[in-house]
């Protein structure tokens, strides 16, 4: 195991620790989406997935 892998793991671990309290706060404070709102999110996500499949096919 080289030190770059260890350094990367430490950096990501620090990110996890830094992000956790902020994530907890955001989860507690963010409103719940309705079915209509989630549909408005799923449609552009589906477009992103299709676009990536197209990119993979072209490369």
């Amino acid at each position: 195991m080289d030190w770059i892998k260890i350094g990367s793991a430490v950096l990501m671990g620090a990110m996890l620790i830094y992000l956790f309290p902020r994530a907890k706060q955001t989860i507690e404070n963010s409103p719940k989406g309705t079915m209509k709102e989630w549909m408005g999110f799923i449609l552009p996500m589906a477009a992103v997935v299709l676009f990536i499949i197209l990119l993979i096919a072209l490369v």
């Binding site: 793991a9 950096l11 992000l19 409103p31 719940k32 408005g40 992103v48 990536i52 490369v59």
Partner: protein, 219 residues
């Protein structure tokens, strides 16, 4: 008199929001150009993975400890350029690797990231939908992806690597919608912090797309 106040206040708020959006996109464009330049410097000078890791750690330190303290002052501008420049510089070894394997992968990832970002931002800006409900989804997704990425540093499972990168693209897409919606609805009033968030989402998406296209290409 009261009626005038009631009418002009929302207009002022709209003008302020539009100013924040405009400043965010101007600063984002400039920081993207600058990070592209530092990434070019890193590729030309052939920096190693160790140097790239140190540059990335320095950028994260700036993001966590310097940027929040300077974002409301004039010093925030050079700080955001330092942050984005270091992150661009840290991309050097990954870019060098993919450029040596197949340069079209880098071009496709770059173009793909641009199309996805512009498409999602355009969608959020034109529909003016409120995506504040995505906050929990984005945060949980980031924690899960970080956990899986740490695990895979030690396990080295190719399928998990692909799954993590596919998840990053989706989470960053959701983040773009969430952040843009926050900008539109006045939740984010600091264009420097908004730029930092959008820049990170673009950079992460670009890197994840690079890995995905690299894995699925025949090279």
């Amino acid at each position: 008199m009261q009626m005038n106040t009631a009418v002009t206040r929302p207009q002022e708020a709209i003008l302020q929001t539009n100013k924040v959006i405009r400043n965010t996109y101007i600063l984002l464009s400039m920081t993207l150009i600058f990070s592209g330049f530092t990434a070019f410097l890193a590729v030309v000078s052939g920096i190693g993975q160790g140097t790239a890791l140190i540059a990335t750690i320095a950028a994260i330190v700036i993001l966590w400890f310097v940027l929040p303290k300077t974002a409301n002052t004039g010093a925030g501008i050079p700080v955001i350029f330092a942050f984005t420049g270091l992150l661009g510089f840290g991309l050097g070894p990954v870019l060098s690797y993919y450029l040596s394997v197949n340069p079209s992968i880098v071009m496709s990832a770059l173009g793909g990231t641009g199309v996805i970002f512009l498409g999602l931002s355009g969608y959020a800006l034109t529909t003016r939908k409120d995506f504040s409900f995505l906050g929990g989804f984005v945060m949980v997704g980031m924690l899960v992806v970080l956990g899986a990425a740490i695990l895979n540093i030690f396990l080295g499972i190719p399928a998990l690597f692909l799954a993590v990168n596919a998840a990053i693209v989706m989470i960053m897409s959701a983040f773009i919608l969430w952040e843009t919606s926050t900008l539109i609805h006045g939740g984010q009033t600091n264009y420097i912090m908004a730029t930092a968030g959008l820049f990170l989402s673009i950079l992460n998406m670009f890197q994840a797309l690079l890995h995905l296209l690299g894995a699925f290409s025949n090279d």
